[in-house]
Amino acid sequence: MPGHVVSVRVYAGVFLALLALTGLTTWVSYFDLGPMNTVVALAIAVTKMLLVILFFMHVKYSSGLTRLVILAGFFWFAILVALTLSDELTRNWTPSPAPWSILLPLIRGLL
């Protein structure tokens, strides 16, 4: 038979773990942890994602080639986020000296 058969017991365990983590992430969001709120929420989300990918999507039992393709996908996504944010968060925002609307009389005069 092709493919690996995951036992119903493992599926049920993963399902319960995902429900518990959903409850945990909701509960934690009611506490003020400062910037750690975002870190904890994303850490729990990544844990849940790994459970789904490894067991529900059978990647724990799949070939190295398939795993490489998946890792390459996430790596590419990491490049997208990292390079975008490295620009956005390190920009020296120049304050606007005046709203653009002060130019309107000038523009009207030219027309």
Partner: protein, 232 residues
């Protein structure tokens, strides 16, 4: 026909360009994952955009997040996780050679849970947002109590509707795929040797589940609910 004897020696659903069913199974999964990687980049653009605008307008995004109802988001997460379990069990039933009615039972259950998710999303959440004037472009009202950041709250709701909307579109497509699978299962198309359509559709369904696993904390949770723990 000389080929007939050779053909009959193979299990149903076997394509002749492959060495064996194992190789065919792996090729199918790999192909589906290549498609899912494009989906990661598809949703990834929205997630990256969300990260940038959240960094630029953090107070408005936290305020917008507090206007969403966490109970609906959490309930929908549970419904979607349950649908992933029933999808996995449908594949398990085919893998272990259960009767076709068992496979169909789990597929229909997955569809019902998927429809329940969309029902909660559209009839409770989105309708509620519309009544509260929180839909940009459809009578959005900036409330005075939001203060200086109020003008940027529509930006949060644009992200909310585009991200959950794109996710909901994927769910609708998924339910369509499940309908086809149920018809195929009723025709006895799947067995222990050949269940590739179930496997790759399962990968798609679980992927859509993963997108929601990230949308739930990003949209509903990291808005500082502790700030309103006293009253609401």
């Amino acid at each position: 026909m000389a080929d007939t004897a050779i053909h009959n020696a193979h299990p149903s659903g076997f394509a002749h360009q492959f060495e064996d069913m194992e190789q065919q199974h792996e090729a199918g999964s790999l192909g589906m994952w290549v498609f899912l990687v494009t989906e990661i980049m598809f949703f990834g653009g929205l997630f990256a955009c969300y990260a940038v605008y959240r960094a630029l307008h953090l107070p408005a995004f936290e305020l917008g997040s507090r206007l969403l109802d966490v109970r609906f988001g959490a309930a929908n997460t549970a419904v979607l996780i349950a649908s992933s379990l029933t999808m996995a069990l449908a594949i398990h039933a085919a893998q272990t050679g259960k009767r076709k009615s068992v496979v169909m039972y789990y597929l229909v259950l997955t569809m019902i849970l998927g429809a329940a998710f969309l029902g909660i999303k559209f009839t409770f959440e989105w309708r509620h947002d519309f009544v509260e004037h929180l839909v940009p472009g459809f009578g959005f009202e900036v409330r005075p109590e939001w203060g200086a950041v109020g003008q940027q709250v529509p930006m949060f709701f644009c992200f909310y509707f585009f991200m959950t909307g794109l996710h909901a579109l994927h769910m609708i497509i998924g339910i369509g795929i499940l309908t086809v699978l149920t018809v195929m299962a009723s025709g006895g198309r799947f067995d222990e040797q050949y269940y590739a359509p179930l496997e790759v559709s399962g990968l798609y369904w679980h992927f859509v589940d993963i997108v929601w696993i990230f949308l739930f904390p990003l949209l509903y949770l990291i808005g500082g609910h502790y700030a309103m723990a006293g009253g609401h």
